[in-house]
Amino acid sequence: MTLAVRDLAVRFGGVTALEAVTFDVRPGSITSVIGPNGAGKTTAFNVITGYLRPAGGRITYEGVPLTGLRPSAIARRGIVRTFQRTSVFPALSVEDNVLTGLHLRGTAGFLEVLAGRRRLAAEESGLVMDAAAILEFVGLAHRRREMARALPYGEQRLVELAIALAARPRVLLLDEPGAGMTGAEKAVVSGLIRKIREQGVTVLLVEHDMRMVMGISDTVIALNGGRVIAEGAPAAIQAHPDVIRAYLGAPRGPA
Amino acid sequence: MAELLQHLVNGLVLGGTYALLGIGLTLIFGLMNVVNFAHGEFYTLGAYVAFAALAWAGVDFFVALLMAIAAGAALGWLCEVTLLRPLRGESIDTTMLVMIGVWIAMQNGELLVWGGVAKSIPHPFPTAPLVLGPVAIAPLRIFVLVLAAALIAASWLLIQKTKLGRAMRATFQDRDTAALMGVGIGRIHAATFAFGSGLAAAAGALLGPVFLVYPSMGDLASLKAFSVVILGGLGNLPGATLGGLLLGIVEELGAGYISSGYRDAVGFVIIILVLLFRPSGLFARQERIA
């Protein structure tokens, strides 16, 4: 049940975004990826979830290779992501947003839909109930009928989370879940992440807020300049000299 | 062999005007990101203005050409300022629909003003073709080729060497920086659209006397322009030039050796094949204008 990344390399023209990136995401853990801007964190996400083709390396989940698969195929294998900038279906209601996220849970095929089989109606009401449960979980049940784009920023990010959860992930990749949020909102998100892990979902997140990262992570992976520079428990990473240097720069030499 | 050369020469003449159409559209579609389905209508407009100038006002051929270019540029400037500027933040689909509306309105306007019967543009050149070795070419076509080449060269010079051209390149490469440096973004957009439309009108005025002028001639012109732009790569002036010449030559060769009924299919097939296999265009490796 491990998500394994081996020797991942990504190059854009002359620029190396990722090089020799290797790490494992242990099942049932909350793993955070940290690093200064441009370190390659979102690039790694994009490759893992199929939005980008790597120049080299392999990604496997439960031993099955993921490299080269389209994002929808990777989602079908249980690996779902959120996006760095708010990504919802703006003109749909919150409920419809989550219903769309429940796409993989539906089974209605083209011919069945045309025939209007009765079992589809039952499936639809089942999905509506599932959507209600998910909205309840993230605390947005009261926003069910509202247009997603009308919601305040923090709630839109919760809609994003709900959509991703609807796709029934076994590994959930969260791209900066705390970005732009108030302290209180971050606490809510952290709590949700813990509850998600309790349900058996492996969580991999990219995040800049160190307090949030150190507060919920089991493992922290530090990237800089497209390479892994450290991997371990939060406390160890916090004290790791390479990590400190990456964020603060090298100490000044004698004048 | 003589036949091949003849087709090549005819193809170059046609291709030169296709290049003009393509350069105009590559600026508008490639740089401004406007899906200008009305591009062919400026081509038609140029032809009709030339017709009116020559048949009704009896002016000199060069003057007629200049009037056509001016008309195209003026109407293009008007379109940009009244229709495109207010929509500038909108999605590309919105401007596409607007330009489709302009397309329909212009074509039917032309139909109403000039009627559906094809018109022939009188020209001052002798009809007897010049014979240069194995190839015969009408003086009119030589004129068209020379003028097309001159306009293409003028366009290159404008974009590469003039202040306006530099401002255009700057605007479409990095708009905010250009604005900070004092470039009037609105004026540049209008100027670019006017320039592209003027080139289309020039193509129409040049080809008008060679063939006939009728209101729906712009439809094919639009599509061939898009074909050239896709072939050469968006925003790529040399690409559009080469693409235009290539399209003209392939069309002539196809019409000569395969079937003349399907000659217009060449442009369509190019669009489909290029978008299918090499969406960035054949010449994409060359430096883009912006």
Binding site: S72, A75, F83, V113, I163, A167 | Q107, Y262, F268, I271
Partner: protein, 311 residues
């Protein structure tokens, strides 16, 4: 629309021939119906997946020619020919869908136009098959259990049935998981992919259904006018369809039908006052005005006025 309103409309539609005064009016109703089917088909692509097809006349024309040729030269029955027309047009839609897999927006439009252009040239040049510009006259009228459906009243009911079928297909698709996938593609494609929506599959599906439905319209047209020529590929038809969908309200179910009725009845009513060139000119201006002032179309605007969210 309320339940009672719906029943009233259905009753009116079913009894229309009874209270229309002349054959000419019935003719207008039939044409409105055929365009209704076409508008519904275009709306599936434009309104729901968000991709504009400006080559829809190609599918319309393929349907018309297939149906005409099979009944004229192959002595097929109308119903079999109709099915074949839908199938062949659908297959053409599949081809265009697969060709345009990675293409969106303007590039998709260009491929559809190019495809229509090629098909149009084939219909003009492949004279052995299509009789070229002279067209195919004498397309037989449909027969049902030995009764000819030649009369306008009979044909009206045929077209009405076709509209009901098309509307049902659209409604069922749109309100299902498939419809949600379509809309997801339109609203946010990367997000749709991240939750497992197979973009290729749904885009091609939309193209096939949309094209097949247009083929249905083509067959109906062929057996009504009893004459098919390359003029079916005229851009005018595509433009009319686009204006109907955009003005009526893309992305709604009723919008295309409202647009179809409006833009069939209006031109006929104005025919005495203005030639079709003026009307087409007006269409162009109207399209521009719609984009500026009524971007979502008539039906959503009316719904907004009545204080409800448009679906």
């Amino acid at each position: 629309m309320t339940r009672a309103g719906g029943w009233l409309l259905a009753a009116a539609a079913l009894t229309l021939p009874l209270w229309l005064s002349s054959a000419y009016h019935l003719h207008v109703a039939i044409m409105a119906g055929i365009f209704g089917v076409l508008a519904l088909s275009l709306n599936l692509l434009l309104g729901f997946t968000g991709q504009l097809s400006l080559g829809h006349a190609a599918f319309f024309g393929i349907g018309a020619y297939t149906s005409a040729l099979l009944t004229l030269k192959g002595a097929w029955s109308f119903w079999a020919a109709l099915a074949a027309a839908v199938a062949l047009a659908g297959a053409a839609g599949w081809l265009v869908g697969r060709l345009s897999l990675k293409l969106r927006g303007a590039y998709f439009v260009l491929v559809t136009i190019s495809f229509a252009g090629v098909i149009s040239l084939v219909s003009v040049n492949w004279i052995e098959l299509t009789n070229g510009p002279l067209g195919l006259p004498g397309v037989p009228a449909p027969e049902l259990f030995g009764w000819s459906l030649r009369s306008k009243t009979a044909y009206y009911y045929l077209v009405l049935a076709a509209i009901a079928l098309s509307y049902l297909v659209c409604a069922r698709l749109v309100k299902s998981r498939i419809g949600r996938a379509f809309v997801a593609l339109r609203e946010n494609e990367p997000l749709a992919e991240s939750v497992g929506v197979d973009v290729t599959h749904y885009l091609v599906l939309a193209a096939v259904v949309s094209a097949g439905m247009a083929g249905l319209g083509g067959s109906l047209y062929a057996h009504y006018t009893r004459f098919v020529s390359p003029e079916v590929f005229l851009f005018t038809y595509t433009v009319t369809m686009v204006v109907m969908v955009v003005a009526g309200g893309k992305g709604t179910l009723a919008g295309p039908l409202v647009g179809a009725v409006l833009f069939t009845v209006l031109p006929e009513a104005l025919r005495a006052a203005a030639s079709w060139q003026w009307q087409m000119l007006a269409y162009g201006v109207l399209l521009v005005l719609l984009v500026f002032f009524l971007p979502r179309g008539i039906v959503p605007a009316v719904q907004a006025l009545r204080g409800r969210d448009a679906s």
